[in-house]
């Protein structure tokens, strides 16, 4: 079945705010649910806003097979389509939506500076919505075999594992959801999980246990990814017995949680031990005028609806900050 998607990051709208040295009201960094929602609210608040999307609008949801818990879609919706709908709505409102990668920020004085590989932007307020990214296992072989058997995107790469055996590492929603997706191609999907039960939601667990292609290896961690030209197996260790063994496989899909996308902000914004940006209940960071929203500041919930809500809060708060800092915008 062929389909044709028009979701395209970085559709620049011609406007007065084409970056350069011009100071704009609000810079939004990140194009996931938090950033896209922030763009919608910024437009509605008549703020001149630039949304720096990065490589892909939608963030993590663009890469999610199905979203069944976002209100308004009683039948569920594909993550890609939901991302596209968020983006279309944001495009109605935001002054500029750019596909640039941010390379450097300076939050030491206002207006704040955000450099991308193409331009330098200056904004009187900033919302950081850079989200979170798949955590790597950090074991030997993982980096070497990335793209040659190691993957973090089942929807992208599932095709290459037709009638082959694959290993999925992890036990959360992503691991089980993507594992189920892989059963469309693979002959066997072996879930390797460090605990003795899954963390994924019950409905996913039920589907996983009912699927004859899914197998489970409990209390086990991956210690090395093995192979020659491509992956041939994983060396695993049972955390209870300390026994090691090898599982033969052609592919390893890693879904062991996320790490925040906060490297750019090190030394400029207060972060917790895990690297998440610390905010108060109003999305304010340690720097007045800089706000944060979504998975980048909130590892506890990781829901589209919560990221979107945080994006809205951040703009409402930013609008107040701008009004106080400069008087009501005429």
């Amino acid at each position: 079945m062929l389909d044709f998607k028009l979701s395209q990051p970085g559709q620049d709208k011609p406007s007065a705010a084409q970056g350069g040295e011009q100071v704009i009201d609000l810079l939004i960094i990140g194009g996931g649910p938090a950033g896209l929602t922030a763009a919608i609210y910024a437009g509605r608040a008549a703020l001149k806003a630039v949304l720096l999307v990065g490589s892909m609008a939608g963030g993590q949801i663009a890469n999610t097979d199905r979203v069944e818990n976002y209100p308004g879609f009683p039948e569920g919706i594909s993550g890609a389509e939901l991302a596209q709908r968020f983006q279309s709505q944001a495009e109605h409102f935001v002054t500029k939506l750019a596909n640039d990668f941010v390379t450097e920020v300076d939050f030491s004085s206002s207006p704040f500076t955000v450099k991308t590989h193409l331009e330098t932007y200056r904004g009187r307020a900033v919302i950081v919505a850079t989200g979170a990214f798949p955590r790597r296992l950090g074991v030997p072989g993982e980096k070497e075999f990335f793209g040659r058997g190691v993957s973090t995107c089942a929807t992208c790469d599932g095709f290459f594992y037709r009638d082959r055996r694959v290993v999925v590492v992890g036990g959360g929603d992503s691991a089980i959801d993507e594992g189920l997706f892989l059963t469309k191609f693979a002959s066997e999907v072996v879930v390797v999980h460090r605990r003795d039960q899954l963390r994924a939601t019950k409905s996913l667990q039920e589907r996983a246990f009912a699927n004859s292609k899914m197998q489970f290896v409990w209390d086990t961690v991956v210690e090395e990814i093995l192979g020659g030209e491509t992956v041939t197996g994983v060396r695993v260790r049972n955390v209870k017995t300390d026994e090691t063994s090898t599982i033969e496989t052609d592919g390893v899909f890693v879904y062991v949680g996320l790490v925040p996308g906060t490297k750019l902000f090190e030394g400029q914004l207060e972060m917790n031990e895990q690297g998440y940006i610390v905010t108060d209940a109003h999305q304010c960071t340690s720097v007045p005028g800089v706000f944060a929203a979504g998975d980048v500041q909130s590892p506890d919930f990781r829901q589209v609806v919560i990221a979107a809500g945080a994006g809205a809060k951040a703009v409402i708060e930013a609008d107040r900050y701008l009004a106080e800092a400069t008087g009501p915008h005429a």
């Binding site: 044709f4 028009l6 892909m56 991302a83 590989h117 993957s151 992208c156 790469d157 095709f159």
Partner: protein, 218 residues
């Protein structure tokens, strides 16, 4: 049955409303042993209907040898996007799924003839004196891949020495095997240099330089 839904048709019309110049979409096809030849041809014809500036040209891969040679096409379905000049922008396999956005991007890019690349990148490209061939392997279900395809096409438009192909991996399994594609996007530059994943512009340019250094050493 049209391939494009009425909703998509309206969006495409808007996207192509202000094309900077005329575009030829040149499709190479044959009637048998080609998974998506028919659909690719239909897709291109449907798009050409939506803009006065866009024309579809259909050639037979077997019998239209002159054209095949002129555009350097070596597999089908192939779609060349040609504007005021041929910048070497190609799609091998059907640009469906997320790659449909890459196709529209290519049409607008080639029509304008003006890539959006950093000064650093343009400086490097200005110094490129030998041919560079980008092959970006994709699957239609990969949301990251379009970024790599669009970037490669920008480089092709920016430099007369660079040509860039999207290659739909599932339609060309022998190439997936030859280039060891087990994950996408995978970009192959001049046969021997690889990029895994959707790398940002500076990284891709660095790899381009690496590919050129390799060929000098050879």
């Amino acid at each position: 049955m049209p391939l494009l839904s009425s909703e998509i048709v309206e969006q495409v019309k808007q996207e192509l409303a202000e094309l900077a110049g005329p575009i030829r979409m040149v499709v190479f096809t044959q009637t048998f042993e080609c998974q998506y030849c028919e659909e690719t041809r239909q897709l291109v014809e449907e798009i050409a209907e939506l803009s006065e500036q866009v024309t579809a040209e259909i050639y037979n891969f077997v019998t239209d040898k002159e054209m095949v040679e002129e555009l350097g096409v070596d597999k089908i379905p192939a779609t060349a996007i040609i504007g005021a000049e041929d910048y070497g922008v190609r799609f091998y396999g059907i640009p469906a799924g997320y790659e449909f956005a890459s196709l529209l991007h290519a049409i607008k890019l080639v029509a304008a003839g003006k890539p959006e690349l950093s000064h650093e990148t343009l400086d490097v490209l200005a110094g490129v004196a030998e041919p560079v061939h980008f092959q970006v392997f994709v699957t239609p279900t990969c949301p990251y891949c379009q970024h790599s395809v669009m970037l490669a096409h920008q480089l092709a438009v920016a430099s007369p020495m660079v040509r860039a192909d999207m290659v739909e991996a599932t339609e060309f399994p022998h190439l997936s095997i030859k280039y060891q594609v087990m994950g996408v996007p995978r970009t192959v530059i001049n046969e021997k240099t690889h990029i895994e994943g959707a790398a940002p512009e500076p990284v891709v340019v660095e790899k381009l330089q690496e590919a050129l250094a390799k060929s000098e050493g050879a």
